[in-house]
């Protein structure tokens, strides 16, 4: 869809994740170029959400390397030896990466506007007036300018998710992660959220989207990755994979969701 600069922004190399003895990710390799929309699909339990959560260290990395913008995530490498980053340094890395959750996770004690303003004011230290102007712009962009004073509990699921997108964008991240952003929504509310994401993709944002929306993958995705059992089964042009999956597991999965 978008013209990609072919400059890798995200590089995942040999990523493994264990929960105790449970081997969830078994060697993931993935590259996302600047301005690209990378869609990840797969059955539940395939490890796609875990992979996404490793990118901003909501899950620790058991083995392998993830880098965003050339910067190693979670570690500093000194003479070939990895050192854990401090909490503060991890927080600094996370500022460059926006995340949208399946269950929105808006702050329920803050209005839509306050949710969007929170990080610019209290992480970046922006003056309140400027942050408010910026937050209202973002709420307008996701079609919720008239809902600024509403608390999350007064918004529909779709509206909450759009506020959550605005909240993540408020930090002006170079990468946006979407963890099944429409899975908790009533079917008629999915469209509004996907439209916001499409606009965002058109604006040139680099995005990794874990989703079950095959239509979105076909329309907006630059690459499609199919994961199953903690490995990447197949990856490539979304339209080709959807029309003509090469692997039996991909075929079976697409057959079930399409």
């Amino acid at each position: 869809m978008t013209v990609t600069a072919e400059k890798p922004l995200v590089k995942i190399e040999g990523l493994h994740k264990y929960y105790g003895h449970h081997h969830v990710l078994r060697g993931i390799d993935m590259t996302v170029n600047q301005g690209e929309v990378s869609v990840v699909i797969g059955p539940s339990g395939s490890g796609k959400s875990t992979m996404l959560r490793c990118v901003n260290l909501l899950e620790s990395i058991s083995a392998g390397r993830i880098s965003v913008g050339g910067q190693l995530i979670g570690y500093r490498e000194v003479n070939g030896k990895l050192h854990d980053l401090k909490t503060k340094e991890i927080a600094a890395q996370r500022r460059e990466i926006g995340m949208v959750f399946q269950r929105f996770n808006l702050f329920p004690h803050k209005t839509a506007l306050q949710n969007v303003m929170e990080a610019p004011v209290h992480v970046k230290g922006q003056p309140k007036a400027a942050a408010q102007k910026w937050a209202l712009e973002l709420l307008d962009r996701v079609g919720l300018g008239d809902r600024a004073g509403h608390y999350p509990s007064q918004l529909s699921g779709g509206q909450q998710q759009r506020v959550a997108i605005a909240r993540a964008l408020a930090m002006e991240p170079e990468l946006m992660l979407f963890d099944e952003p429409t899975s908790a929504l009533d079917p008629e509310l999915v469209g509004d959220v996907l439209n916001v994401m499409k606009d965002l993709a058109k604006s040139g944002m680099t995005m990794i989207v874990v989703t079950h929306e095959i239509g979105f993958a076909r329309e907006v995705g630059d690459t499609l990755t199919f994961m199953d059992g903690g490995v990447v089964v197949e990856s490539g042009d979304p339209r080709e994979i959807i029309a003509n999956p090469q692997h039996a597991r991909t075929k079976e999965f697409l057959g079930r969701v399409l």
């Binding site: 909501l58 992480v123 408010q132 209202l136 608390y151 509990s153 007064q154």
Partner: protein
């Protein structure tokens, strides 16, 4: 909403409601008991309402109220500060912090507050001097314990440290009640640990923390009557007891004390109501108070839009 005003609105059902004779009978029985009790209040001369009237605003009594309030507020402030610290330590990654928090709660919850008050009263006997220095090494300065830990300080320490153990558990429960996703969302925005706790987690935990803490505060108000154990002899219960012993009229002076405790409790309950409303923002309390003028302008349709929003998504507000 207003169906009956519309010309082609449906005719509303007018059914005969179920009768509840049991409710009427039980209500009459309760009212009869209340009437008998009220009558006794006015006719039984042993209440000595004249004495209640004489002493309700007695200097000693009013001073007692002041001291009781001071002890309650000071020990609760101390307990809350300690409890926040203990609850944070209990959640810490550092095992020494977790362990010491657990031991503190175990000890101060596991021994009677009366015993602890007696102990703080005797602290100067146990440790006559407080000194700072290197253990087994040189000493930098030393102070008389009795000069620092007077009866007031001993009472506040005894009540506050004991209470901190109970409050620590209330705070811990409150922090645990906040959805894990809140922490993750704040982390994903790059917020620091401290900011996440103070701006995101604690304000939401307060909804769960405030009601039992209000309970504890009211409990504390009355626990202050135990400070006689220190011995501290200026609080409301001691003052009214002393007057009762002097006048040989215990009943009216107990009533004086009870009235004052009820008055203070009622004031505390009003305070608790407002604190609960504040921390219920966005959940129990949907008044759009927190919006500043520019945002309100941007928000456009005000209260009307909000009401319709609530009815549009009942499942959301139910959550």
């Amino acid at each position: 909403m207003e169906h009956h005003q519309h010309p082609d609105a449906p005719v509303l059902n007018k059914s005969v409601p179920v009768r509840h004779p049991g409710r009427w009978i039980s209500a009459i029985i309760i009212l009869a008991f209340v009437a008998v009790f009220l009558q006794s209040l006015f006719t039984n001369p042993n209440f000595r309402w004249d004495i209640v009237g004489t002493y309700i605003l007695d200097v000693k009594v009013v001073q007692g109220v002041g001291w009781t309030l001071l002890l309650t507020v000071a020990s609760m402030v101390l307990a809350i500060v300690l409890a926040i610290l203990l609850a944070f330590m209990r959640q810490s990654d550092n095992p020494i912090f977790r362990w010491s928090s657990w031991v503190w709660v175990w000890f101060f919850r596991g021994t009677p507050v009366y015993t602890q008050l007696v102990f703080w009263g005797l602290i100067a006997v146990l440790y006559p001097k407080i000194s700072a220095g290197v253990p087994f090494g040189p000493e930098f300065f030393s102070l008389d314990t009795a000069a620092i830990v007077n009866a007031t300080v001993a009472a506040i320490l005894g009540l506050g440290l004991n209470e901190s153990a109970y409050l620590a558990e209330i705070f811990r429960a409150g922090l645990k009640s906040v959805d894990r996703g809140q922490q993750e969302a704040a982390e994903a925005l790059g917020m620091s640990k401290g900011k996440i706790m103070w701006r995101i987690i604690l304000p939401q935990a307060m909804r769960v923390i405030v009601p039992p803490t209000g309970n504890e505060t009211i409990g504390m108000l009355k626990t202050t009557s135990l400070v006689l154990a220190v011995p501290f002899t200026l609080d409301l219960t001691f003052a009214t007891n002393a007057l009762a012993n002097r006048t040989y009229l215990p009943v009216p002076l107990l009533i004086v004390a009870a009235i004052w405790y009820l008055v203070i409790t009622s004031i505390l309950m009003v305070g608790q109501h407002f604190i609960e409303a504040y921390y219920g923002k966005g959940v129990d309390n949907l008044a759009p108070a927190a919006v500043n003028p520019a945002a309100a302008k941007a928000a456009g349709p005000g209260a009307d839009a909000q009401r319709s929003m609530k009815t549009d998504f009942p499942e959301e507000s139910a959550r």
